[in-house]
Each structure stands twice: as C-alpha cells, then as structure tokens.
Symmetry: C2
Subunit: 263 residues, 2 copies
C-alpha cells in the first residue's frame, strides 16, 4: 500500500493521486494501487523555515509518517519537492522506504539520449528548494549543470506558486511560462517543474508533451506505479525505491520495462 505524505499543498496531493491513477490505467477499481494518504495541510511552510522565517515542519512531517506507518503503508512518496530537504531526516525515523522525487527526476533526465550534452537543466521551484540546493546538488552529483531564475524572476515564480496554492491556477500560467521561456532562452533544453504546484497550472501545456517541461509530480507517480507493477510481477527488473540510478520511466513516456508499463 502506497503511503502518501501529502497536504503540501493539498491540491498537489490530489494532482499526484490523479497521476498515479492515470498512469496505472486500470479498467476496474480493484486494478488500482491501494493508497493511504495523509493530507497533513497543517505542516508549517517549508520555504519559510529554510529561509529562517518560520517553524520547523519536521515534527509535523514525522507525525504524518507515523500515521502512514500505523495505517499500513509499505512505501512512502512525498508530492512536495521542498519537503525533500527533510528526506534524509524522515528516512532516518522510518523503516518504510521513501522515494526521492529529485532522484526520480535525475533518473529520467539521465535516460535521455545525449542527456548531458543538451545544456543545463532549468529549475522552476520555491525559494526554499533553490536556497537549499535540493535540485542543483543532486543534478551536479549526476553530472548535470542547472540554471534557476534570478532576483525578480524568482520572485515571480514564488508569487505564481502562491497563486496556485490559493486556487488562482489560471492566473499562474502566464508568469510561470514567462519564467520557463527565460530558462529556455538561457540555453536550457529541459525545464523541470520542481514544485508540485507548478504542474497544476502547466500540465496541459504542449511543452510538456514536447519534453521541454518536465513534470516532477508525474515522474514520481510513474515511479510509484512501476514499483507497484514490479511487485505484482508485471514488470522487470525489480525496482528499488529512491536508490540512485534506480530504473524509472524515461522522459518522453516510453517505459524502460520493455513497454509493459505502458501496456
């Protein structure tokens, strides 16, 4: 049973669940992945803490992990990129494997042809994710360079994320696309939507299907489904959650599992 440490924010959790369901492609209820979801919207703001302006969200995240444990989760996914600042701290307090959204994204990027010759990876994310280097460090360890919006541009990204959190999704599209364009103009071939609020606004943009915008939420969902189907014996090889280099679906939706994932 997949445990989802959610509520950061609640709409992003719903978006993640929807992507798990879509990616599973079930014909009946019973073919879906059982999930236990803690939408712990009470967890304090992640970016505020990282920037030194708010309480530590870790204690409430641990409470949510405990809820998932006692409810019977066997693996945990966290549909919030900024929350991965605490990934190691959370993994240290639970025996349940916790997928790492950034590792999943790195795996996907790595499987692209000429991945590292295609220019830096653009990152659209919260101030917290950028300040903590959550993506830039993992990408650098995998041999990728990365670029992020600077100054007022990054403030525009953060305001747009706030708009999505407040339910004003349509208003967030234009500023987010403007900032994605600036990253493409600076030489990025791929821009990662590295905050789970962003694909709520941009998931249906043609640039996603073109592979120019990468949806971290969707890749996390695909990785969860791949693990589940692998455990059911529908896929090979077996997948270890969150392990660097673990096989996950590639950027443009083709499965690495001989096509069975998409079948």
């Amino acid at each position: 049973m997949l445990g989802v440490l959610g509520g950061m924010g609640p709409a992003a959790t719903v978006d993640f669940m929807e992507k798990v369901i879509d990616c599973t492609g079930a014909d009946t209820d019973q073919e879906n992945i059982p999930m236990i979801v803690c939408s712990a919207s009470n967890i304090p703001d992640r970016t505020a803490y990282i920037l030194g302006n708010g309480p530590d969200p870790l204690p409430d995240m641990i409470v949510a992990v405990r809820r998932l444990e006692v409810a019977g989760a066997t693996r945990i996914a966290i549909p919030c990129n900024t929350a991965h600042y605490w990934h190691a701290a959370l993994q240290a307090v639970t025996s349940l494997p916790i997928l790492h959204i950034v590792e999943v994204v790195c795996d996907v990027l790595e499987r692209e042809p000429n991945a590292k010759a295609r220019g830096p990876i653009g990152i659209l994310a919260t101030h917290g994710t950028l300040a903590a280097g959550i993506y830039s460090q993992h990408l650098a360890e995998r041999g990728f360079s990365s670029l992020q919006p600077q100054g007022d541009d990054q403030h525009e990204v953060m305001r747009a994320i706030g708009l999505v959190k407040a339910g004003c999704t349509a208003e967030a599209i234009e500023p987010l696309m403007r900032q994605a364009q600036k990253l493409w103009d600076r030489g990025c071939s791929v821009v990662v939507m590295a905050c789970t609020e962003i694909p709520i606004a941009l998931a249906h943009r043609p640039e996603v299907a073109q592979g120019r915008l990468l949806d971290a939420t969707d890749e996390l969902a695909k990785a969860c489904v791949a693990i589940y189907k692998s455990a059911l014996g529908e896929n090979e090889p077996d997948v270890e959650s969150g392990a660097p280099g673990a096989p996950v679906p590639t950027l443009h939706g083709a499965s690495i599992y001989g096509g069975t994932l998409q079948a």
Copy 2:
C-alpha cells in the same frame, strides 16, 4: 482530521478531495482541512455483492475504517453512494461518526423552496444502489417520491459508470445526459448524480449550476467543510454528522450558516 473511506473508485475519491479543497477556499496550505484518506481500491465491487454476484465488501471496508481510526481520523466520509448500503454496519463497529451521503442529499433537497411539490427526485445510480433502495427509502422517509431509469435505460447508466471507472470519462457524458433527460421528461425537476463516478463526467454541465443535476459528492464535501468550519467556530450552529435533518448547505450553493461558509 477528516477520514475518507475511499477507493470506491479511486478517481471518485480524488474528485471528492478536490471538492473539499475547492469548498474550503483556502489561501494557504495551512487553511485546508487535514485529511487521512484510505483509497482502498481492493474493496470488492459493491453492486456485484448486492446483486448476489460477488464477495461481501464489508470486511475490507472495516479494515479501511480501522486504518483511518489508527491514523487519527475523527470523523469519516465515504465518497461512494453504493457503499452506504453498509453505513449502519460500519457505524456499528466504530465510534467515529460517519456522515451519510444520502441524508446529506435529503437535507439539501428539503431546503429547496416547495421541495416536495416540485415532482419526484430522479436517481442516477448503480444497479446496487437502486436494488438496495438506498436513495428511494431515505427519500420516502423524508416525504419525497423518486424515479429511476428502467430496464435498458438503467443498463446504459451502469455501462457509463463502468466507462468512468475505466478512465473513459468523455464517452460517459452522452449516455448519462440522455438518461438524465429521460428522468426530467418523466417529471423530475432534480436528478441526483447518486454514484460518485457520475459527477466526474457531468460536473461541468450547465444543468448542475441550474440545480437540475445535484452532485451528491459535492454536497458531501460541503457538509464536511461546514462541520470543520463549525468546529473551528467559523459557523453556527454546530453540525452533527449524518443526523437526519442536520443542517447542510442548500442546493444552489447558498450557505445556511449566515453566509459564512461561502465567505
């Protein structure tokens, strides 16, 4: 913390969560309702059992209730109409109050002006919900008459529900609207979308805003938000979950709580 006994089906659970979030109208993550959601998609088919063609889903439903209990839920909602066949059996095994979707819908219908003079209530639902009389009995107890599709018409509704469960939502719209139209033609002023798969297909139809199609999922979500806001002291009077006659928002979206629910 709102507990959601879900997975019947998984997309309907996501739809319900989305409606809770929309109805809450939060500006930040932390203003949302914390939820613990068990998407127990493994629960056997409800209609099959009621029609004598499948295993009893009650044991797996009880397991899901136990997961919600240990995870810290303080109240339970079930975004599946057919599952309410087991409402009393589930309420008997837990001290957590379980909202009753049919009572919520009856409350909403009752608050309409001249509610009972406006003709019978149309019911679009699964074979199981109709065979068990889940709606017809509750409506009759409240003094409403009801109508449901007959023969091939009901088979068309059931096929459309199956299409939504299989992710073929667009294909379900035409048959469902055809059957709603037949109920309106037979004298119903309101047709209840009394299976949580149906509003996934029809929620954006103009007939919903007109009050001719009533979304049971949305009404359940509104009732949950009203209870939550009441508990926070934002609403009066206090709301008792699932009690017959408990106040819930009215059919056309106006709040009965002096407008604070919509504020």
